[in-house]
Each structure stands twice: as structure tokens, then as C-alpha cells.
Amino acid sequence: MRAREIHAGLQLLDRQVVRVGTGGLVCKVDDLELQGDPPYVSAILAGPLALGPRVGGLPGWLMVQVTRLFRPEEDPQPRRIPMHLVNEIGSAVVVGGEPAEPALERWLRENVIARIPGSGGEGPPYAEPEHATGHAPRISALLGRRVTDAEGTVVGKVADVRLCQDGPLLHGVQNAFRIAGLVVVPERTGKLFGYERGPGGQAPWLVRAVITRWFSGSALVGWDQVDASSARFETPEVRLTVPARDLAPLTDLYEREPRG
């Protein structure tokens, strides 16, 4: 059996995290924490401290600063849900364990909602959320980064990160998603909206035609084609070890992922 391949931006980031069994809504996948070399996804990061930097600009800055104001720690980090708790990745990300409650929810419940008559039974028991420690790289650091090839010419920017589930074994339950490659698109473009995946999701015709044309010149980069120092997030741009002409075209995804 071939290991499962997914696109981090398209199929994991910004999806709803729900709890196994009860279906309770936990959070969004606001970012992904990376570990190891070659890097693999070690945890889901959630909350304003993960979302803010991705939103950027004034709103993103505000999200981060306001949250920092209310957190007691010196250098607060976002909430973290380790990847070994993930049961299923589909239209939602289903996690096991006892996901902790964010502080805002608890504060509003204790000070506002629970004081109004008829708010219902006891809320869930409080558990201290697990926070990330230190500054592990995040997958959003790769997204949007400029890509240059072995000769120094600009190839484009990173639109998405391909993950392959054949990384190290996590807690003896499942293999981690290892970074397998990058989807690189021309610099002056935006989101691919999932139209890079070939036969699946190819309609409506007009949208596909516009996007295909706009993104002509996009390429697939294998992680083995990425320069070792950029692969460790040490350089401001992603440097490749091969010239741009050796890269596979994006249309290769069509043949690799047949429908069904």
C-alpha cells in the first residue's frame, strides 16, 4: 500500500478540528508544527497566536498582541494538539484525547453565560491546555516563500506543501506526515483553490480554465531537490539544488492521483 499523500494547505490547514465520539467542535487547524530533519508534522497549532501571524497586517498583529496581553507567560505559545491524537483527516480533522478548553471560552462561561439563568448543566471540566514550547518551525513559514533554483533565478513561490504519511512512527500509533515536496506557482498569482489535483474537483469548467491558464508555469518540487540549509529553514528563500527546467510540471499530479 502506498503511503497517503495530502496537501497541507488544501486538506489540513483551516479545517475544523472535532472531537471523536461527541463531535464537539474544538478549534481550527490554524497552523502546523514541524520537527525533525527531514521535517515532519508533529502537532496542530491553534488559537490567535497561531492564526495571527498567518493573517498578517494590522488584524493579525492585533490578534497576537491582545492574546499576549492576557497570557501570564513571558513568551506565550499557541495551543498544541499532538498529531498522534489525530484519528481522521477528512472534511474535518477528528482528534481523540481530552482537548482542553481555551481561556476565552472558560472566562466567558464563568463570568457571563453561567450567571444567566437557564444556561444548562455543568460545562466540560477544565483542563490546562497544552501549549507549544520554544520556537519550532511552522508550516506557514514555508507557504508564500520565494523559490530560487540552482542557478539563482526565481522559480516562483510556495503555494502548498505536499505531505506523505511515511515519517517516523508517533507514539507507536501512526506514521507522521513527512514533507515530501512543494507546489511552486508563479509569483504574481494567488490561491489554486484545489484545482491542482487533476481529475478530482475539475468543475466548473470556466473556473478551471481561468485557474489553469493563470497558473501555467507552476511546478512540483521534491523535498530532495531542496537545498539542505533551506530545508532547515535557515535561509529567507527556498533554494533548490536543480535548475528550474528539471522540475516536474504541476500536471504530473493528474496522473499520480487517479480518481477513486
Partner: protein
């Protein structure tokens, strides 16, 4: 038998819940000024809302994901945040307008100034959202809104010159400029296709735990209930066209919009129409307030919904509370509720593509939908509407400025 009953009940609920303050005001106003010459936009709007409500309902039933989940997932956090800000702004205006509308209906019934009714309406609306079960809430106000059928009966009683109404369909009045005509076309479309309707419809699907087998019910609601609601909208315009157009009378108060029913059916008609207006606007107050909570919670991934106790969805209920308070404060500034409605219609029309584009994309994504992706016909129609809605986005605000908001 039970199934048939459920389907019928659903259709009636969708029918009665279709009309809100936006439809009432836009159709009354347009009928009085332009006769039936803009009736076609209601048809375009109803087809559009059917199309996108069906898609979002299907997505909710198959994948369990409501519309704003899709917005953030497909547009990303930045564009999603822009959409969130725009939707919340429009939603708040609409919520204020609905509270105002319900209070105006109470003023018509009692003679007590509507401003005194505003806090009471807002409080009761909040209480209903706090305590009443989702299904009961939707049913009661949807069915009560059916009282607005009196517009159809009144039109028939007024005995208009049907030939004249038919002639108006294709010929706008000469004394109105083209920009004003198109401005009101956009307002009518905004009334029929308001984004909160799909936020509410799809989140409601999740609240009621729809599964793929419930698709029959969902489709019946959309394809039968909504067009019937559209017919009701057109009859409001036709009533106004019959009574006001011959005298060139301007309509700018709720009392004038319901007046034709009084002329056609007397006091009983008047009582019914006021009851209907109250039920429709009060029901829509709940829908818009809940939609604010749905959009914000679904963007940030918070627990939302009335299917859990308020204590388990503290942030969601706090948003509802704040939204109701803000909208009440806005109406209490004595700003004209009818004017707020007009503005909210045009702003909603401008914000439509932001919401409907991700719905169209996800309805085609086999990752979500399996083999229930859109067919060719739905896609052709969906593409046509995306182009139309993008044109409206570009045209809405310039037209608003050029016509001084339709004057």
C-alpha cells in the same frame, strides 16, 4: 405518511420564512415606483438563492460542514477574515432592520411608538435564542409568516387591471432614470439572495443533524418553499403597483406597504398582514442574530449551535448577546429602520460573491462530496450566477453614490 408530513411542514416553513423586512421594503418600494417592471429580478434572485441554498444544504448533509467553514477553508485566513468583517457588518445592519420592522409592526397594531417596542422585541428575541429549541423556533415563526399570503389574496380582491400589470413587466416607467432602475434591481436581488440565508440554512442543517437521506426534505424546502416565497414577494410589489403607481405616490413607511391589504380585505386583512409582518421580521431577527454567531464561531472554530447547552458554547452565546445589543442600540438612535433596510440590501448584494464562490468550489470537490458533486447543469447555472454577482459587486456602490441611494 410521517415523511410526507415532514416534507410538507418543511416546505411551509421555508415558504413562510422566506420574506423578511428586506423583501417587504424592496418590493413595496419598487412596486410603487416601477410597477411590475422589476419583477424579473425577483425571479433571478429566487433561482439564485435556490441554487446556492441547495448546494450549501447538500454540503451540510454530506460532509456536516456549514458555509462559513468552507469560506475560511477555501479562501484562506486573510480573504476569509475580509468576508467575515463584511458579513458581520451587513448582518448587523439587517438585524437592526429586522428588529425595527418587528417593532414597527407592533406600532401599527397598538399605536404605541415603535421605539418603545424595540427593547422588548430585542429581549424576547434573545430569550427565544437562549431557551427555545432550534426546530421549534424555526417552525413556529416560519408557519406564522404564512399569514403574509394575504398579499396574494388582497391582490386578487383589489381586482387590478391584469393586462396593465402584464404590460408593466416589460416597460419601466418613463420618468425614472436607468441608474435608479438598476439600483433597485440590485436591492431586490440583495433582498432575495441575502448571504445570511445560506449561513442560516446550512448551519440549520447541521443543527438538525441532516444526513444524506434528508436531502429529499432539504431539496423540497428549497425548490418548492423558496419559489412560493418569491411569488409572495412579487404579490407585494403587485399590490403596491396597483394602489400607488397610478398616483405616483412614494412609499417610505411600513404602514404604506401593508395598506393595499387593508384596501382589499378590510380590517381582518389588516390584522392578518400586521401579524404576518411581525412574525416574518421577528423570525428573521432570530435568523440574522444566529447568523452573526454562526459566522464568527465558524471562522475561528469555536463550539457553536443550539444543539449544545449555552454553557458549552459560551463564546457563541456571548456573540449573540453582543449582536442583539449592538443592533438594538443602532435602531434606538432613531435612525429610520426602512433606510437601514435599503442600505443593508445593497451592501449584501455587493458581498454576495465572497460567500457563494467557495460554496460553488466545495460543491464540486469530491473530497467533500464523494459522488454528490454538482452536475453540469448546476455548474453552468452556478458559473452564470458568479459572473452576474461579480458584476453586481462592481456596480453596487458606484450606483448607490450616483443615484444618492435611489432618490
Amino acid at each position: 405518511m410521517k415523511r410526507l408530513f415532514a416534507v410538507t411542514l418543511g416546505i411551509l416553513t421555508a415558504f413562510g420564512g422566506f420574506v423578511d423586512i428586506g423583501d417587504l421594503v424592496a418590493n413595496g418600494l419598487v412596486g410603487a415606483r416601477f410597477g411590475m417592471s422589476l419583477a424579473w429580478t425577483v425571479v433571478v434572485g429566487v433561482i439564485g438563492i435556490c441554487l446556492f441554498a441547495e448546494m450549501s444544504g447538500r454540503i451540510a448533509a454530506v460532509s456536516g460542514r456549514p458555509v462559513f467553514d468552507l469560506v475560511r477553508e477555501r479562501l484562506g485566513p486573510k480573504a476569509g477574515l475580509v468576508n467575515l468583517a463584511a458579513s458581520l457588518f451587513v448582518n448587523l445592519l439587517t438585524l437592526a432592520a429586522e428588529i425595527g420592522g418587528a417593532s414597527l409592526a407592533l406600532e401599527l397594531a397598538t399605536g404605541v411608538n415603535y421605539l418603545l417596542w424595540v427593547p422588548a422585541v430585542a429581549f424576547v428575541a434573545w430569550l427565544v435564542m437562549w431557551r427555545v429549541k432550534f426546530e421549534t423556533m424555526e417552525r413556529v415563526f416560519g408557519l406564522a409568516g404564512l399569514a403574509l399570503v394575504v398579499f396574494v389574496v388582497a391582490l386578487w380582491q383589489l381586482g387590478p387591471d391584469w393586462g396593465e400589470l402584464g404590460r408593466q413587466l416589460t416597460s419601466p416607467p418613463q420618468d425614472e432614470g436607468a441608474p435608479t432602475y438598476w439600483y433597485y434591481a440590485i436591492a431586490l436581488l440583495g433582498g432575495a439572495m441575502t448571504p445570511y440565508e445560506v449561513f442560516f440554512f446550512s448551519s440549520g442543517g447541521v443543527e438538525e443533524k441532516w444526513r444524506p437521506r434528508d436531502l429529499v426534505t432539504a431539496r423540497a424546502n428549497v425548490f418548492v418553499g423558496f419559489p412560493l416565497g418569491g411569488l409572495m414577494s412579487i404579490s407585494i410589489a403587485a399590490c403596491a403597483a396597483t394602489v400607488f403607481l397610478p398616483f405616483d405616490a412614494q412609499v417610505d413607511a411600513l404602514g404604506e406597504i401593508v395598506l393595499p391589504v387593508g384596501l382589499g380585505l378590510g380590517q381582518i386583512g389588516m390584522a392578518l398582514v400586521i401579524f404576518g409582518v411581525f412574525a416574518a421580521t421577528f423570525g428573521a431577527t432570530l435568523e440574522t442574530a444566529l447568523s452573526s454567531g454562526y459566522t464568527l464561531s465558524q471562522y475561528f472554530g469555536w463550539q457553536w449551535g443550539k444543539f449544545v447547552r449555552p454553557r458549552s458554547a459560551a463564546r457563541f452565546h456571548a456573540v449573540l448577546l453582543v449582536a442583539v445589543v449592538l443592533a438594538t442600540a443602532l435602531i434606538l438612535t432613531t435612525i429610520d429602520p426602512i433606510m437601514v433596510t435599503e442600505y443593508s440590501l445593497v451592501f449584501s448584494a455587493a458581498a454576495l460573491p465572497l460567500t457563494y464562490f467557495p460554496v460553488l468550489l466545495i460543491a464540486n470537490d469530491p473530497d467533500y462530496m464523494g459522488d454528490r458533486v454538482n452536475g453540469r447543469f448546476t455548474n453552468a447555472l452556478g458559473t452564470f450566477y458568479m459572473i452576474l454577482l461579480s458584476l453586481i459587486t462592481v456596480a453596487a456602490l458606484p450606483l448607490m453614490i450616483a443615484t444618492k441611494a435611489g432618490q
